[in-house]
Symmetry: C3
Amino acid sequence: MHRISIKTRSDVDFQDITPQVQELVASSGVESGVCYILVPHTTAAVTVNEHADPSVVEDIIAHLEVMVPRHKNYRHGEGNSPAHIKASLMGNSEVILIDGGRLFLGTWQGIFFCEFDGPRNRNLLVKIIADKP
Amino acid sequence: MHRISIKTRSDVDFQDITPQVQELVASSGVESGVCYILVPHTTAAVTVNEHADPSVVEDIIAHLEVMVPRHKNYRHGEGNSPAHIKASLMGNSEVILIDGGRLFLGTWQGIFFCEFDGPRNRNLLVKIIADKP
Amino acid sequence: MHRISIKTRSDVDFQDITPQVQELVASSGVESGVCYILVPHTTAAVTVNEHADPSVVEDIIAHLEVMVPRHKNYRHGEGNSPAHIKASLMGNSEVILIDGGRLFLGTWQGIFFCEFDGPRNRNLLVKIIADKP
């Protein structure tokens, strides 16, 4: 189990973590297997989407804000209920296949750590399992 | 593959199932591995979110109700389309890492079975896989 | 790692791919294990929901359209931001258990490839892992 440290820069912040995960896969020496990515937080998430044009992620962020508005009556006293709701909508884990010693992703796909209640210091857990241990 | 029986208490009902899953992991004797949690229903789901303050889950439930309103024209004759839609938004599976013989969860994280069309008797499937079989 | 080719027929199109995945599991000879389903695209997804009554999926499609409207100001120049947002809401992977040589699904569950920016030729990746390699 590997741990990646992430320093988020603002309230809501998606960071492309593909290179860091790719590096862990490369240094594991696993040729074929499965890579699990886990977020151990309840106001952050992980998603796979386009990382070629940064405006895609800006649109996802902006529309999540519309779907889960900030100024509303929520019960949770800390005031960060929208962040919890967005986290469950995006999900806190991803599974990615490893093939030829690399993450098998589509042409446009990147892995994003999704901060919804930052800025904070966050962790991401990565587990790499080879097909034939 | 293990099966956990769940009796939901109302129409929409999130139940913290962390202790039951933790117990299965403990009795499996697996020190390091992966735990899969699967919901074999189409109007229920599973999510990981804060279980310290119950108002977080109340806010998630209430806001899903806003996002997927009940009184609207849906085509599906049974009248439970909102439950199906919410189930796909939350997802019917979770993957959790096992470390040191326990589920590896963040400080605030708990696993919730999400009923969207209850009350009913439901099942949850749990599969535990050790790193080294 | 197996690849399934999918030809989507319209802009938004959910296709029941349960039989194709079931066939791959059967021909793998794996009795007990895990099946991963991965979508290598950023405007398509995969979800598990009811496949007995097709109106359920029609309701999911129609309501996603309401939640993520098409005619709105998005920044991404290609005009398919709603498809990217829906893809992250549904998720690009599923994990399904294999038991008795078959996918272990609930009575009403089917696996759907979700096209959000079609019609196109798409791929789906399937990986089958036996409990005891």
